[in-house]
Amino acid sequence: MTATPVATPLLTATDVTIERGGRGLVSGLSLQVMPGEIWQVEGVNGSGKTSLLRVLSGLSRYGYDGQVERAVPLLYLGHRSAVKPLLSPLENLRLHPGGEGDHTDSDIERALAAVGLAGFEDNLAGTLSAGQQRRINLARLYLSPCPLWILDEPFTAIDREGVLALEQRFAQHAQAGGAIVCTSHQPLNVQASVSRLSLDRERAA
Amino acid sequence: MYFDSWQAALVMDGHGGFVWAAYAITTLGVVWMLVYPAWSRRRALRQLAVAVRREQARADSAQGVR
């Protein structure tokens, strides 16, 4: 996807204010995510990272003030891995409620191999470990055509090689003109410009 | 008045018990519908007053301590 002449932002959030249980988590946040950018949202636990991501992804439509517009379809990977234990990884991705196009079995197998699940395609997801189940979810990063990714702590329960592979995938996605907004407790070392958004500074300001 | 005496009004040719019972229960209901909100508003105000006073005390003690 060549960068369009004047880069239109994939995601624009204007003056977003989120309050949870009386505590002001985010106030007056404005954000523009341009193609090729990777944003890392930092903050201590409970600083509202997940709430912000849910608002940016359009999952929570109430409970916040301000405007969020998404110009492109979105891939959201949350804390929970959206994997049905009774289905095999192959079936999980083939029948995914995410609504993306139909993927051929070979695409799915290639994606599962990329996240290190080669050979596990047909066991029931219930028999796999928690880390492996999260990888089924992460396999969607290799399948989904959506340019905008919003990832909530994608690296939890993933070992070191897995993290490295994912960081390469992030860089590749950013270079291809996609954009990523993610939260993570460890700094991202990616061959791309990473913009940081710290929710602690936001609240302190 | 349709009834010639209070006695007749009470008895209502035998139906008085039902009629007056129904009116009594409805009166209780109406009284409850009117009294409950007023009472709960005053209670809410009292609770808020206590909360404000406690906040004040906390703020003063914080100043005092520093």
Binding site: G22, G63 | V19, A22, G29, L34, L48
Partner: protein, 248 residues
């Protein structure tokens, strides 16, 4: 007009306007209620078929009518809060539920008492009473659902959806219960569907219906004021209010 609609959204303004309305509406309501009751009880002739027991109609019919209307008021408030996201409409819906439930309960009790002299049983599965019972459960459903949610804003929205679903279903429930009653019960005394009601009985009934509508409005406004206080507890205008009430 638009400024009025906008102002309706500001809690302190609504709190004070409700107060002023109540100051004159409440006494009028009480007077009309007592007048209607006395008129219906003592100054109207008995019904040639049912004798004096029909006097319960002067409280059964108004409570039933306003209870049903109350459900629609609640649903409309819910719809406004859901569609235009007006907090005040959510307050109104929250305040309307218990009043409607109480009115439905009163309608059921007075209907049951009225049934004893008319049919000889305390509970007669008459069409109107059965539909009223279903309406009572609809009210309970809304109140229980509100209580089940921890996040009270989500609770308000969920109740708005439920009460809208309820309003769509109420006409269907009433029609099907009417049909069900006529299927199993040959047309005996049609309970409240008095075909022609003598004018001497009609006027007190209309007066009582107006009285109960006024009562509903008063209770709604009073409940809304309490609800406003609870929701706006940390704002400045409530603080000033507490200070005034403290001195007053």
């Amino acid at each position: 007009m638009w400024s009025f609609f906008h102002k309706l959204g500001s809690p302190p303004w609504l709190y004070s306007i409700a107060g002023t309305i109540l100051r004159w509406l409440l006494p009028i309501t009480l007077v009309v209620l007592v007048a209607g009751a006395v008129w219906g009880l003592l100054y109207t002739p008995p019904d040639f078929r049912q004798g004096n027991s029909y006097r319960i109609m002067y409280i059964h019919v108004p409570t039933a009518v306003v209870a049903l209307a109350g459900y629609y008021v609640m649903a409309i408030a819910g719809a406004i809060s859901l569609i235009w996201r007006m907090k005040m409409a959510d307050v109104a819906m929250r305040a309307a539920a218990p009043i409607g439930a109480m009115l439905t309960f009163l309608a059921l009790v007075t209907g049951a008492i009225w049934g004893k002299p008319t049919w000889g049983t305390w509970w007669e599965w008459d069409a109107r009473i059965t539909s009223m019972l279903v309406l009572f459960f609809l009210y309970l459903g809304v109140m229980v659902l509100y209580d089940a949610y921890d996040n009270k804003e989500a609770a308000g929205r969920a109740c708005a959806v439920l009460s809208l679903v309820g309003t769509v279903n109420i006409p269907i429930i009433y029609k099907s219960v009417d049909w069900w009653y006529s299927l199993h019960q040959p047309a005996s005394i049609k309970f409240t569907g008095e075909s022609t009601i003598d004018s001497s009985m009609l006027y007190p009934l209309l007066l009582m219906i107006v009285a109960f509508y006024a009562l509903y409005t008063c209770c709604l406004l009073m409940n809304m004021r309490t609800e406003l206080l609870r929701r706006e507890a940390r704002t400045g205008w409530v603080r000033r209010l507490i200070v005034e009430e403290g001195k007053g």
